[in-house]
Amino acid sequence: MKRREFFKNLAHGLFSFFGVGLIVYPILRFLSHAKETIKTVIFHPSETLLKINYKQGVYLKRKENGSEAISAKCTHLGCTVAYNERKSEFHCPCHGSIYDKNGKRLSGPAKKSLSLLPVRKEKNGDLIITLKE
């Protein structure tokens, strides 16, 4: 291949590559855009009396000095863990990960403990928990 022909092909290739990229890049950026969804879960005062209560993906655990919110999302593959009252453990129904009553990982394929979520107390006693979806 002559040098002139080589540069001609190279220019053609680069031009095509950037041309296609110019069209494909905005499409990919548009399609892959995802807005972050923040979910708010509210526990009313009457719902905080139980030792442990569940609402919309959050376990609220009563403690001596207040309440602690634990995410019900299994850290393995995102299933919702169920609280086993007899054993005081959280069990994942999908792949069998087990966490203790504080959300600490005990066994199973999950590698991390359940996430603790920040709890904000309103003047009327409502407990507000916000979590990313």
Binding site: L31, S32, C79, G96, G108
Partner: protein, 296 residues
Amino acid sequence: MESLPLMGINHKMSFCIPRISLSALLVCFISGIILTCQYYPFGNVFRNVEEITTVIPYGFFFRRLHYASGQLFVILMLIHIVDHFMKRRYKGFSVGKWAGLVIPLIICFFILFTGYILKGDKEGIYAGNIFYNILKEIPVAGETITRFVIRPGEMFFWLPYLYHVFFLPILLIFLIRDHINNWFSQAGFLLFTTAGLFIYSLLVRMPMDIPPHAKIELVKGPWFFLGIQVCLGVLPPIVAGIAAPLIFFAILLLLPGLKGHLQKAVHYGIIFLSLFYTFLVIFGYFFIKHSWVLSR
């Protein structure tokens, strides 16, 4: 209907299965189009599906028909490929032609899987979440790839819906277009299959839908996913959910391109892996009960 009575049992099977399978696909498409008119992939999807099943006239029938015809199509397609594989017909195929048989099967499994998510019940939501989290495990591009397939939040069912109703069926029809042209001339198969599916749908119930907020100790995925679900309990998600299925299908796809002893070895390797996966599915279906003792 051609010279069917003169064929041996093996030939009869090779002849009938694809024709019944395509007839089931047509029933599946028509029942799917009917269901789409009442299905809404936003808000409380579970309530919408329950309304279709219990309130809307004949909703239960069209759901059962769609479910049964879809399952029948995929099972027969699987048998069709096994039939080709065991008779080593891939030897006369190019990799491209063989891919035209294997890739539609993979697409079919994705159509079944997205349909499973679209039920909107507890199992469907968990299946979607698991799929989302497995895809996120892909190094570097995982986060971006998930955004093209499934997203958490209010759009959770939207992308699986688009894939289930538009993208994947269109791709499937495109890939099997020659088969459709060749095999849809025989009305007898269509009548026989439709009648069988109608009777089945009237008599046999679908598996129960579990409300999203029900407290249950064990969730199982669709039958073809059970083997992967068992593996996910003991292997990292990237291995059990991505690498292993990808490697298996890559080897299966490349089979006609191999030669001599290597092809023979890979042939038996695929048989072994398929039997092992079947064992895992049976194990997952029958022997895993409350709490996954296997993973403790």
